[in-house]
Amino acid sequence: MLRRRLVPYFLLGPGTIWLVLFFLVPMYFMAELALRSGTVLTGFQFSWEWSNFSDALSENNEQVVRSFYYSGVATLVALLIAYPLAYAIALRAGRWRVLLLFAVIAPFFTTYLIRTIAWKTILYDSGPIVDAFQFLQLIPDDGRLLATQWAVIAGLTYNFLPFMILPIYASIERLDLRMIEAAKDLYASSRQAFLKVTLPLTAPGIVAGVLLTFIPAFGDYVNPLVLGGTNQSMIGNRIQVLYLNEGNYPEAAALSFLMMALILALVVVYIRFAGTEAFMGEEVEET
Protein backbone atom coordinates (compact mmCIF):
# COMPACT_ATOMS: atom_id res chain seq x y z
CA MET A 1 0.00 0.00 0.00
CA LEU A 2 2.82 2.36 0.88
CA ARG A 3 4.40 1.70 -2.49
CA ARG A 4 1.22 2.73 -4.24
CA ARG A 5 1.10 5.98 -2.27
CA LEU A 6 4.61 6.79 -3.40
CA VAL A 7 3.88 6.28 -7.10
CA PRO A 8 2.80 9.89 -7.84
CA TYR A 9 5.95 11.23 -6.22
CA PHE A 10 8.12 9.01 -8.40
CA LEU A 11 6.22 10.22 -11.45
CA LEU A 12 6.58 13.86 -10.43
CA GLY A 13 10.19 13.45 -9.29
CA PRO A 14 12.30 14.08 -12.38
CA GLY A 15 10.28 17.07 -13.60
CA THR A 16 10.07 18.60 -10.15
CA ILE A 17 13.81 18.27 -9.63
CA TRP A 18 14.46 19.91 -13.00
CA LEU A 19 12.13 22.83 -12.26
CA VAL A 20 13.50 23.32 -8.74
CA LEU A 21 17.13 23.21 -9.88
CA PHE A 22 16.74 25.32 -13.01
CA PHE A 23 13.81 27.59 -12.17
CA LEU A 24 13.63 28.14 -8.39
CA VAL A 25 17.34 27.95 -7.55
CA PRO A 26 18.26 30.45 -10.31
CA MET A 27 15.66 32.84 -8.84
CA TYR A 28 17.57 32.63 -5.56
CA PHE A 29 20.85 33.36 -7.32
CA MET A 30 19.28 36.31 -9.09
CA ALA A 31 17.97 37.73 -5.82
CA GLU A 32 21.36 37.28 -4.19
CA LEU A 33 23.09 38.93 -7.14
CA ALA A 34 20.70 41.87 -6.87
CA LEU A 35 22.04 42.60 -3.37
CA ARG A 36 25.71 42.68 -4.31
CA SER A 37 27.93 45.66 -5.03
CA GLY A 38 31.08 46.13 -7.04
CA THR A 39 32.17 46.31 -10.67
CA VAL A 40 33.09 43.77 -13.33
CA LEU A 41 36.79 44.47 -12.71
CA THR A 42 36.75 44.14 -8.91
CA GLY A 43 34.12 41.44 -8.81
CA PHE A 44 30.79 41.62 -7.04
CA GLN A 45 30.58 41.15 -3.27
CA PHE A 46 27.44 40.40 -1.34
CA SER A 47 26.67 43.44 0.83
CA TRP A 48 22.90 43.73 1.28
CA GLU A 49 23.00 46.50 -1.34
CA TRP A 50 19.30 47.41 -1.21
CA SER A 51 19.97 50.59 -3.13
CA ASN A 52 20.32 48.46 -6.29
CA PHE A 53 16.57 48.20 -6.33
CA SER A 54 15.88 51.91 -5.99
CA ASP A 55 18.66 52.66 -8.49
CA ALA A 56 17.22 50.16 -10.94
CA LEU A 57 13.90 51.97 -10.79
CA SER A 58 15.12 55.55 -10.82
CA GLU A 59 17.77 55.04 -13.52
CA ASN A 60 15.34 53.23 -15.79
CA ASN A 61 12.26 55.22 -14.99
CA GLU A 62 11.64 56.06 -18.62
CA GLN A 63 11.78 52.41 -19.74
CA VAL A 64 9.51 51.29 -16.90
CA VAL A 65 6.84 53.82 -17.84
CA ARG A 66 7.20 52.90 -21.51
CA SER A 67 6.86 49.18 -20.78
CA PHE A 68 3.58 49.75 -18.96
CA TYR A 69 2.31 52.03 -21.70
CA TYR A 70 3.30 49.91 -24.73
CA SER A 71 2.25 46.56 -23.30
CA GLY A 72 -0.97 48.10 -21.94
CA VAL A 73 -1.97 49.54 -25.32
CA ALA A 74 -0.92 46.34 -27.13
CA THR A 75 -3.02 44.24 -24.72
CA LEU A 76 -6.04 46.48 -25.25
CA VAL A 77 -5.76 46.42 -29.05
CA ALA A 78 -5.24 42.65 -28.96
CA LEU A 79 -8.43 42.31 -26.91
CA LEU A 80 -10.39 44.40 -29.42
CA ILE A 81 -9.12 42.23 -32.28
CA ALA A 82 -9.39 38.93 -30.44
CA TYR A 83 -12.88 39.00 -28.94
CA PRO A 84 -14.91 39.39 -32.15
CA LEU A 85 -12.58 36.98 -33.94
CA ALA A 86 -12.88 34.34 -31.21
CA TYR A 87 -16.64 34.85 -31.13
CA ALA A 88 -16.88 34.41 -34.90
CA ILE A 89 -14.71 31.28 -34.88
CA ALA A 90 -16.55 29.68 -31.97
CA LEU A 91 -20.15 30.42 -32.97
CA ARG A 92 -20.35 31.38 -36.63
CA ALA A 93 -17.54 29.66 -38.52
CA GLY A 94 -19.17 26.25 -38.98
CA ARG A 95 -16.95 24.00 -41.04
CA TRP A 96 -14.30 26.69 -41.41
CA ARG A 97 -13.58 26.51 -37.69
CA VAL A 98 -10.52 24.24 -37.75
CA LEU A 99 -8.98 26.21 -40.60
CA LEU A 100 -9.51 29.56 -38.85
CA LEU A 101 -8.11 28.23 -35.57
CA PHE A 102 -5.14 27.02 -37.53
CA ALA A 103 -4.63 30.48 -39.03
CA VAL A 104 -4.70 31.93 -35.52
CA ILE A 105 -1.83 29.77 -34.30
CA ALA A 106 0.08 29.80 -37.61
CA PRO A 107 2.42 32.62 -36.48
CA PHE A 108 3.78 30.22 -33.86
CA PHE A 109 5.22 28.08 -36.63
CA THR A 110 7.58 30.74 -37.86
CA THR A 111 10.49 31.89 -35.78
CA TYR A 112 9.60 34.78 -33.49
CA LEU A 113 12.61 36.85 -34.52
CA ILE A 114 12.00 36.25 -38.23
CA ARG A 115 8.33 37.23 -38.12
CA THR A 116 9.27 40.40 -36.28
CA ILE A 117 11.76 41.12 -39.05
CA ALA A 118 8.90 40.47 -41.50
CA TRP A 119 7.04 43.34 -39.80
CA LYS A 120 10.08 45.48 -40.41
CA THR A 121 9.69 44.65 -44.11
CA ILE A 122 5.98 45.51 -44.03
CA LEU A 123 6.49 48.85 -42.26
CA TYR A 124 9.58 49.77 -44.28
CA ASP A 125 10.04 53.43 -45.15
CA SER A 126 9.10 53.26 -48.83
CA GLY A 127 6.72 50.35 -48.44
CA PRO A 128 3.00 50.36 -49.32
CA ILE A 129 1.79 50.84 -45.74
CA VAL A 130 3.90 53.94 -45.19
CA ASP A 131 2.84 55.26 -48.62
CA ALA A 132 -0.82 54.78 -47.71
CA PHE A 133 -0.36 56.47 -44.33
CA GLN A 134 1.40 59.39 -46.03
CA PHE A 135 -1.34 59.66 -48.66
CA LEU A 136 -3.98 59.80 -45.93
CA GLN A 137 -1.84 62.36 -44.09
CA LEU A 138 -1.85 60.18 -41.00
CA ILE A 139 1.87 60.77 -40.92
CA PRO A 140 3.76 63.64 -42.61
CA ASP A 141 5.12 63.18 -46.16
CA ASP A 142 8.59 62.38 -44.86
CA GLY A 143 7.22 60.53 -41.83
CA ARG A 144 7.98 56.93 -41.05
CA LEU A 145 6.51 54.13 -39.01
CA LEU A 146 9.66 52.24 -38.13
CA ALA A 147 11.44 53.51 -35.03
CA THR A 148 8.20 54.98 -33.69
CA GLN A 149 6.12 53.79 -30.79
CA TRP A 150 3.45 52.62 -33.25
CA ALA A 151 5.76 50.09 -34.84
CA VAL A 152 6.65 48.64 -31.44
CA ILE A 153 3.03 48.50 -30.30
CA ALA A 154 1.98 46.89 -33.60
CA GLY A 155 4.71 44.29 -33.24
CA LEU A 156 3.79 43.50 -29.63
CA THR A 157 0.10 43.23 -30.53
CA TYR A 158 0.83 40.89 -33.40
CA ASN A 159 3.29 38.63 -31.64
CA PHE A 160 1.14 37.97 -28.58
CA LEU A 161 -2.31 38.01 -30.20
CA PRO A 162 -2.73 34.21 -30.19
CA PHE A 163 -2.34 34.23 -26.39
CA MET A 164 -5.36 36.53 -26.26
CA ILE A 165 -7.47 34.67 -28.81
CA LEU A 166 -7.09 31.13 -27.49
CA PRO A 167 -8.40 31.54 -23.90
CA ILE A 168 -11.26 33.78 -25.10
CA TYR A 169 -12.12 31.24 -27.77
CA ALA A 170 -12.13 28.46 -25.16
CA SER A 171 -14.50 30.41 -22.89
CA ILE A 172 -16.91 31.29 -25.73
CA GLU A 173 -16.89 27.74 -27.02
CA ARG A 174 -17.85 26.43 -23.59
CA LEU A 175 -20.73 28.91 -23.38
CA ASP A 176 -24.15 27.34 -22.88
CA LEU A 177 -26.08 28.85 -25.78
CA ARG A 178 -29.40 28.12 -24.06
CA MET A 179 -28.57 30.94 -21.64
CA ILE A 180 -28.62 33.42 -24.51
CA GLU A 181 -31.83 31.93 -25.86
CA ALA A 182 -33.37 32.21 -22.41
CA ALA A 183 -32.36 35.88 -22.23
CA LYS A 184 -33.99 36.52 -25.61
CA ASP A 185 -37.12 34.60 -24.60
CA LEU A 186 -37.31 36.99 -21.69
CA TYR A 187 -37.31 39.91 -24.17
CA ALA A 188 -33.68 40.94 -23.96
CA SER A 189 -32.42 42.66 -27.11
CA SER A 190 -29.34 41.13 -28.79
CA ARG A 191 -27.30 43.91 -27.29
CA GLN A 192 -28.66 43.37 -23.78
CA ALA A 193 -28.19 39.60 -24.07
CA PHE A 194 -24.57 40.16 -25.07
CA LEU A 195 -23.83 42.68 -22.30
CA LYS A 196 -25.70 40.90 -19.51
CA VAL A 197 -25.14 37.23 -20.39
CA THR A 198 -22.40 36.52 -22.93
CA LEU A 199 -19.85 39.03 -21.69
CA PRO A 200 -20.02 38.13 -17.96
CA LEU A 201 -19.90 34.40 -18.74
CA THR A 202 -16.79 34.81 -20.90
CA ALA A 203 -15.07 37.19 -18.49
CA PRO A 204 -12.68 34.49 -17.16
CA GLY A 205 -11.41 33.96 -20.70
CA ILE A 206 -10.88 37.70 -21.12
CA VAL A 207 -8.96 37.99 -17.85
CA ALA A 208 -6.82 34.98 -18.74
CA GLY A 209 -6.13 36.40 -22.21
CA VAL A 210 -5.22 39.82 -20.82
CA LEU A 211 -2.78 38.24 -18.39
CA LEU A 212 -1.23 35.89 -20.94
CA THR A 213 -0.75 38.79 -23.37
CA PHE A 214 0.38 41.45 -20.94
CA ILE A 215 3.06 39.34 -19.24
CA PRO A 216 5.18 38.47 -22.29
CA ALA A 217 4.56 41.90 -23.87
CA PHE A 218 5.72 43.64 -20.71
CA GLY A 219 8.97 41.65 -20.63
CA ASP A 220 9.63 41.74 -24.37
CA TYR A 221 12.78 43.22 -25.85
CA VAL A 222 12.79 41.89 -29.40
CA ASN A 223 10.06 44.19 -30.75
CA PRO A 224 11.62 47.43 -29.47
CA LEU A 225 15.00 46.18 -30.68
CA VAL A 226 13.95 45.28 -34.23
CA LEU A 227 11.11 47.74 -34.84
CA GLY A 228 11.82 50.55 -32.40
CA GLY A 229 15.37 51.65 -33.10
CA THR A 230 17.25 53.42 -30.36
CA ASN A 231 14.62 55.54 -28.62
CA GLN A 232 11.92 53.00 -27.90
CA SER A 233 13.64 50.66 -25.45
CA MET A 234 11.63 48.88 -22.76
CA ILE A 235 12.65 47.23 -19.48
CA GLY A 236 13.65 44.06 -21.30
CA ASN A 237 16.16 46.00 -23.41
CA ARG A 238 17.68 47.57 -20.29
CA ILE A 239 18.02 44.18 -18.61
CA GLN A 240 19.71 42.79 -21.70
CA VAL A 241 22.10 45.73 -22.05
CA LEU A 242 22.96 45.79 -18.35
CA TYR A 243 23.60 42.04 -18.30
CA LEU A 244 25.22 41.30 -21.61
CA ASN A 245 26.85 44.59 -22.66
CA GLU A 246 27.59 46.68 -19.57
CA GLY A 247 28.22 43.79 -17.18
CA ASN A 248 26.28 45.56 -14.45
CA TYR A 249 24.91 42.31 -13.06
CA PRO A 250 23.50 43.59 -9.76
CA GLU A 251 21.37 46.30 -11.30
CA ALA A 252 20.20 43.97 -14.08
CA ALA A 253 19.27 41.34 -11.50
CA ALA A 254 17.45 43.93 -9.38
CA LEU A 255 15.47 45.10 -12.40
CA SER A 256 14.59 41.51 -13.39
CA PHE A 257 13.59 40.81 -9.82
CA LEU A 258 11.25 43.79 -9.69
CA MET A 259 9.65 42.73 -12.96
CA MET A 260 9.21 39.20 -11.63
CA ALA A 261 7.67 40.53 -8.41
CA LEU A 262 5.15 42.64 -10.29
CA ILE A 263 4.11 39.77 -12.52
CA LEU A 264 3.99 37.34 -9.61
CA ALA A 265 1.64 39.72 -7.83
CA LEU A 266 -0.65 39.80 -10.88
CA VAL A 267 -0.59 36.02 -11.17
CA VAL A 268 -1.27 35.45 -7.48
CA VAL A 269 -4.25 37.81 -7.57
CA TYR A 270 -5.50 35.98 -10.62
CA ILE A 271 -5.05 32.48 -9.16
CA ARG A 272 -6.90 33.55 -6.00
CA PHE A 273 -9.71 34.71 -8.22
CA ALA A 274 -9.86 31.87 -10.72
CA GLY A 275 -7.47 29.04 -9.81
CA THR A 276 -4.66 27.77 -12.01
CA GLU A 277 -7.19 27.10 -14.75
CA ALA A 278 -6.10 29.78 -17.20
CA PHE A 279 -2.66 28.28 -17.46
CA MET A 280 -3.50 24.63 -16.95
CA GLY A 281 -6.75 24.03 -18.78
CA GLU A 282 -9.73 22.60 -16.97
CA GLU A 283 -9.36 21.47 -13.37
CA VAL A 284 -9.63 17.80 -12.52
CA GLU A 285 -12.92 16.77 -11.01
CA GLU A 286 -12.30 16.07 -7.35
CA THR A 287 -13.52 12.59 -6.55
Partner: protein, 288 residues
Protein backbone atom coordinates in the same frame (compact mmCIF):
# COMPACT_ATOMS: atom_id res chain seq x y z
CA UNK B 1 -25.45 47.24 -48.13
CA UNK B 2 -26.05 48.17 -44.52
CA UNK B 3 -28.27 45.15 -43.98
CA UNK B 4 -25.57 42.96 -45.52
CA UNK B 5 -22.93 44.47 -43.25
CA UNK B 6 -25.15 43.89 -40.24
CA UNK B 7 -25.45 40.23 -41.08
CA UNK B 8 -21.89 39.62 -42.21
CA UNK B 9 -19.97 42.36 -40.45
CA UNK B 10 -18.62 39.98 -37.84
CA UNK B 11 -17.32 37.55 -40.44
CA UNK B 12 -15.73 40.38 -42.45
CA UNK B 13 -13.99 41.55 -39.28
CA UNK B 14 -12.85 38.00 -38.54
CA UNK B 15 -11.54 37.67 -42.08
CA UNK B 16 -9.52 40.87 -41.74
CA UNK B 17 -8.13 39.73 -38.40
CA UNK B 18 -7.08 36.39 -39.88
CA UNK B 19 -5.43 38.20 -42.80
CA UNK B 20 -3.51 40.27 -40.25
CA UNK B 21 -2.29 37.07 -38.59
CA UNK B 22 -1.12 35.60 -41.90
CA UNK B 23 0.45 38.61 -43.65
CA UNK B 24 3.92 38.36 -42.09
CA UNK B 25 4.08 34.65 -42.95
CA UNK B 26 3.18 35.42 -46.56
CA UNK B 27 5.80 38.19 -46.57
CA UNK B 28 8.48 35.77 -45.37
CA UNK B 29 7.59 33.25 -48.09
CA UNK B 30 7.26 35.84 -50.88
CA UNK B 31 10.60 37.47 -50.08
CA UNK B 32 12.34 34.08 -50.33
CA UNK B 33 11.66 34.33 -54.09
CA UNK B 34 12.76 37.94 -54.51
CA UNK B 35 16.02 38.62 -56.34
CA UNK B 36 18.25 41.03 -54.41
CA UNK B 37 21.56 42.61 -55.47
CA UNK B 38 23.80 41.21 -52.70
CA UNK B 39 21.67 38.16 -51.90
CA UNK B 40 20.69 39.90 -48.65
CA UNK B 41 17.18 40.93 -47.69
CA UNK B 42 16.71 44.57 -48.60
CA UNK B 43 13.03 44.99 -47.74
CA UNK B 44 11.78 45.76 -51.26
CA UNK B 45 10.67 43.52 -54.08
CA UNK B 46 12.38 45.40 -56.91
CA UNK B 47 14.59 42.59 -58.22
CA UNK B 48 12.04 40.24 -59.73
CA UNK B 49 11.27 36.58 -59.21
CA UNK B 50 13.96 33.95 -58.74
CA UNK B 51 14.26 30.37 -57.57
CA UNK B 52 17.97 30.82 -56.94
CA UNK B 53 17.76 30.95 -53.14
CA UNK B 54 15.63 27.82 -52.98
CA UNK B 55 18.05 25.98 -55.26
CA UNK B 56 20.97 27.08 -53.11
CA UNK B 57 19.14 26.88 -49.80
CA UNK B 58 22.06 25.26 -48.01
CA UNK B 59 24.88 27.33 -49.48
CA UNK B 60 25.78 29.30 -46.37
CA UNK B 61 27.89 27.19 -44.03
CA UNK B 62 27.35 29.24 -40.84
CA UNK B 63 23.60 29.25 -41.41
CA UNK B 64 23.59 25.47 -41.91
CA UNK B 65 25.61 24.95 -38.73
CA UNK B 66 23.21 27.07 -36.71
CA UNK B 67 20.23 25.29 -38.23
CA UNK B 68 21.76 21.91 -37.39
CA UNK B 69 22.48 23.04 -33.83
CA UNK B 70 18.88 24.18 -33.46
CA UNK B 71 17.49 20.88 -34.73
CA UNK B 72 19.80 18.88 -32.45
CA UNK B 73 18.96 21.04 -29.46
CA UNK B 74 15.22 20.89 -30.16
CA UNK B 75 15.36 17.10 -30.57
CA UNK B 76 17.10 16.48 -27.23
CA UNK B 77 15.00 19.08 -25.47
CA UNK B 78 11.79 17.56 -26.86
CA UNK B 79 12.74 14.01 -25.84
CA UNK B 80 13.61 14.99 -22.27
CA UNK B 81 10.78 17.46 -21.65
CA UNK B 82 8.13 15.19 -23.20
CA UNK B 83 9.19 12.19 -21.12
CA UNK B 84 9.46 14.14 -17.88
CA UNK B 85 6.35 16.23 -18.50
CA UNK B 86 4.17 13.25 -19.44
CA UNK B 87 5.04 11.52 -16.16
CA UNK B 88 4.09 14.67 -14.27
CA UNK B 89 0.79 14.93 -16.13
CA UNK B 90 -0.05 11.30 -15.31
CA UNK B 91 0.67 11.91 -11.62
CA UNK B 92 -1.50 15.04 -11.57
CA UNK B 93 -4.49 13.51 -13.32
CA UNK B 94 -4.52 9.94 -12.03
CA UNK B 95 -3.40 10.22 -8.42
CA UNK B 96 -4.53 12.04 -5.32
CA UNK B 97 -1.61 13.07 -3.17
CA UNK B 98 -0.39 15.71 -0.76
CA UNK B 99 1.44 18.62 -2.34
CA UNK B 100 -0.60 18.65 -5.54
CA UNK B 101 -1.40 22.38 -5.31
CA UNK B 102 2.29 23.10 -4.82
CA UNK B 103 3.14 21.01 -7.89
CA UNK B 104 0.55 22.89 -9.91
CA UNK B 105 2.10 26.18 -8.82
CA UNK B 106 5.61 25.00 -9.69
CA UNK B 107 4.37 24.09 -13.18
CA UNK B 108 2.42 27.34 -13.71
CA UNK B 109 5.13 29.76 -12.58
CA UNK B 110 7.65 29.24 -15.39
CA UNK B 111 4.86 29.84 -17.92
CA UNK B 112 3.87 33.05 -16.15
CA UNK B 113 7.42 34.41 -15.96
CA UNK B 114 8.65 36.68 -18.76
CA UNK B 115 11.30 34.93 -20.81
CA UNK B 116 13.88 37.58 -20.11
CA UNK B 117 13.61 36.90 -16.37
CA UNK B 118 14.02 33.15 -16.94
CA UNK B 119 17.10 33.82 -19.06
CA UNK B 120 18.58 36.35 -16.65
CA UNK B 121 17.98 34.14 -13.61
CA UNK B 122 19.62 31.12 -15.23
CA UNK B 123 22.60 33.23 -16.27
CA UNK B 124 22.86 34.52 -12.68
CA UNK B 125 23.23 30.94 -11.54
CA UNK B 126 25.56 29.82 -14.32
CA UNK B 127 28.02 32.67 -13.77
CA UNK B 128 28.05 31.92 -10.04
CA UNK B 129 28.63 28.18 -10.25
CA UNK B 130 31.62 27.09 -12.25
CA UNK B 131 30.04 23.66 -12.78
CA UNK B 132 28.41 24.79 -16.00
CA UNK B 133 30.21 26.02 -19.10
CA UNK B 134 27.92 28.21 -21.14
CA UNK B 135 27.16 26.41 -24.38
CA UNK B 136 25.08 23.54 -25.68
CA UNK B 137 24.51 22.00 -22.24
CA UNK B 138 23.24 25.23 -20.67
CA UNK B 139 20.98 25.78 -23.68
CA UNK B 140 19.60 22.26 -23.25
CA UNK B 141 18.99 22.84 -19.54
CA UNK B 142 17.13 26.07 -20.28
CA UNK B 143 15.04 24.69 -23.14
CA UNK B 144 13.91 21.63 -21.19
CA UNK B 145 13.04 23.89 -18.25
CA UNK B 146 10.69 26.16 -20.20
CA UNK B 147 9.18 23.30 -22.23
CA UNK B 148 8.17 21.01 -19.34
CA UNK B 149 5.20 23.14 -18.22
CA UNK B 150 3.72 23.27 -21.69
CA UNK B 151 4.07 19.50 -22.12
CA UNK B 152 2.30 18.92 -18.80
CA UNK B 153 -0.58 21.19 -19.79
CA UNK B 154 -1.15 19.52 -23.18
CA UNK B 155 -0.85 15.91 -22.00
CA UNK B 156 -2.93 16.67 -18.93
CA UNK B 157 -5.86 18.02 -20.95
CA UNK B 158 -5.79 14.84 -23.06
CA UNK B 159 -5.73 12.61 -19.95
CA UNK B 160 -8.63 14.48 -18.34
CA UNK B 161 -10.79 13.81 -21.39
CA UNK B 162 -9.90 10.11 -21.15
CA UNK B 163 -12.83 7.82 -20.36
CA UNK B 164 -11.34 5.35 -17.89
CA UNK B 165 -14.29 3.00 -18.33
CA UNK B 166 -12.70 2.01 -21.64
CA UNK B 167 -9.72 0.59 -19.74
CA UNK B 168 -12.06 -1.16 -17.32
CA UNK B 169 -13.96 -2.59 -20.26
CA UNK B 170 -10.73 -3.99 -21.70
CA UNK B 171 -9.92 -5.57 -18.32
CA UNK B 172 -13.45 -7.00 -18.09
CA UNK B 173 -12.92 -8.58 -21.48
CA UNK B 174 -9.86 -10.38 -20.14
CA UNK B 175 -7.01 -8.09 -21.18
CA UNK B 176 -3.95 -8.12 -18.92
CA UNK B 177 -2.79 -4.69 -17.62
CA UNK B 178 0.03 -4.74 -20.18
CA UNK B 179 -2.36 -5.52 -23.03
CA UNK B 180 -4.76 -2.82 -21.82
CA UNK B 181 -1.93 -0.32 -21.81
CA UNK B 182 -0.59 -1.42 -25.21
CA UNK B 183 -3.88 -1.68 -27.11
CA UNK B 184 -6.16 0.78 -25.31
CA UNK B 185 -4.36 3.42 -23.26
CA UNK B 186 -1.46 4.13 -25.61
CA UNK B 187 -3.42 4.62 -28.85
CA UNK B 188 -5.78 7.00 -27.05
CA UNK B 189 -3.14 9.08 -25.24
CA UNK B 190 -0.49 9.04 -27.97
CA UNK B 191 -1.92 11.98 -29.95
CA UNK B 192 -1.76 14.15 -26.81
CA UNK B 193 1.86 13.20 -26.22
CA UNK B 194 2.64 13.76 -29.89
CA UNK B 195 1.03 17.21 -29.78
CA UNK B 196 3.01 18.03 -26.65
CA UNK B 197 6.25 16.90 -28.29
CA UNK B 198 5.49 19.04 -31.33
CA UNK B 199 4.87 22.06 -29.14
CA UNK B 200 8.11 21.45 -27.22
CA UNK B 201 10.01 21.19 -30.50
CA UNK B 202 8.48 24.41 -31.82
CA UNK B 203 9.19 26.27 -28.56
CA UNK B 204 12.81 25.18 -28.60
CA UNK B 205 13.54 25.96 -32.23
CA UNK B 206 11.82 29.35 -31.84
CA UNK B 207 13.51 30.52 -28.70
CA UNK B 208 15.70 33.58 -28.93
CA UNK B 209 15.44 35.48 -25.65
CA UNK B 210 16.51 32.77 -23.20
CA UNK B 211 19.09 31.34 -25.60
CA UNK B 212 20.67 34.75 -26.07
CA UNK B 213 21.51 34.80 -22.36
CA UNK B 214 22.79 31.26 -21.98
CA UNK B 215 24.36 30.28 -25.29
CA UNK B 216 28.03 31.10 -24.64
CA UNK B 217 29.60 30.58 -28.07
CA UNK B 218 26.95 28.19 -29.40
CA UNK B 219 24.87 29.64 -32.22
CA UNK B 220 21.28 28.51 -32.83
CA UNK B 221 19.17 29.48 -35.85
CA UNK B 222 17.49 32.53 -34.19
CA UNK B 223 20.85 33.60 -32.72
CA UNK B 224 22.42 33.42 -36.18
CA UNK B 225 19.67 35.62 -37.62
CA UNK B 226 20.15 38.08 -34.78
CA UNK B 227 23.90 38.06 -35.31
CA UNK B 228 23.77 38.83 -39.04
CA UNK B 229 20.84 41.30 -38.79
CA UNK B 230 23.20 44.30 -38.83
CA UNK B 231 25.34 43.07 -41.73
CA UNK B 232 22.32 42.02 -43.79
CA UNK B 233 20.27 38.85 -43.60
CA UNK B 234 20.87 36.32 -46.39
CA UNK B 235 17.70 35.46 -48.32
CA UNK B 236 18.33 31.81 -47.47
CA UNK B 237 17.10 32.61 -43.93
CA UNK B 238 13.64 33.19 -45.42
CA UNK B 239 13.92 30.00 -47.43
CA UNK B 240 14.72 27.93 -44.32
CA UNK B 241 12.03 29.71 -42.29
CA UNK B 242 9.47 28.89 -45.00
CA UNK B 243 10.62 25.25 -45.10
CA UNK B 244 10.32 25.03 -41.33
CA UNK B 245 6.82 26.49 -41.50
CA UNK B 246 5.70 23.98 -44.13
CA UNK B 247 7.21 21.07 -42.19
CA UNK B 248 5.44 22.16 -39.02
CA UNK B 249 2.14 22.50 -40.86
CA UNK B 250 2.57 18.96 -42.22
CA UNK B 251 3.35 17.65 -38.73
CA UNK B 252 0.30 19.40 -37.26
CA UNK B 253 -1.84 17.87 -39.98
CA UNK B 254 -0.50 14.46 -39.00
CA UNK B 255 -1.31 15.02 -35.33
CA UNK B 256 -4.85 16.19 -36.15
CA UNK B 257 -5.37 13.12 -38.33
CA UNK B 258 -4.08 10.88 -35.52
CA UNK B 259 -6.37 12.58 -33.05
CA UNK B 260 -9.42 12.02 -35.27
CA UNK B 261 -8.42 8.38 -35.54
CA UNK B 262 -8.05 8.05 -31.76
CA UNK B 263 -11.46 9.63 -31.28
CA UNK B 264 -13.01 7.15 -33.69
CA UNK B 265 -11.31 4.32 -31.77
CA UNK B 266 -12.70 5.66 -28.52
CA UNK B 267 -16.18 5.82 -30.05
CA UNK B 268 -15.89 2.22 -31.26
CA UNK B 269 -14.62 1.10 -27.86
CA UNK B 270 -17.46 2.87 -26.06
CA UNK B 271 -19.97 1.18 -28.33
CA UNK B 272 -18.48 -2.24 -27.76
CA UNK B 273 -18.98 -1.77 -24.08
CA UNK B 274 -22.71 -1.02 -24.16
CA UNK B 275 -23.65 -3.62 -26.77
CA UNK B 276 -24.54 -6.79 -24.87
CA UNK B 277 -23.33 -9.99 -26.47
CA UNK B 278 -21.12 -13.02 -26.04
CA UNK B 279 -17.88 -12.17 -24.29
CA UNK B 280 -14.96 -12.94 -26.61
CA UNK B 281 -12.45 -15.32 -25.08
CA UNK B 282 -9.40 -13.36 -26.15
CA UNK B 283 -9.05 -9.57 -25.89
CA UNK B 284 -9.65 -8.01 -29.26
CA UNK B 285 -7.00 -5.48 -30.17
CA UNK B 286 -8.72 -2.25 -30.92
CA UNK B 287 -6.57 -1.34 -33.91
CA UNK B 288 -7.76 -1.35 -37.47
Amino acid sequence: MIAWLRRNGLMVYAGLAVAYMLIPIVVIAVFSFGETPKDKLNFTLGGGFTLEYWQHAFKIEELNDSFRTSIKLATFSTLISTAVGTLMAIALVRYQFRGRRLSNLLIVLPMATPEIVLGAALLSMFVNLSVFDLGFQTLLIAHVMFSISFVVVVVRSRLIGFDRRIEEAAADLGATPVQTFRYVTMPLVAPGILAAALLAFALSIDDFVISNFNSGGTVTFPLYVYGVALRGIPVQVNVLATMLFLLTVAAIGLVLWQQRRAERLAAVAAEEKVVPGPVPAAPTPLGG
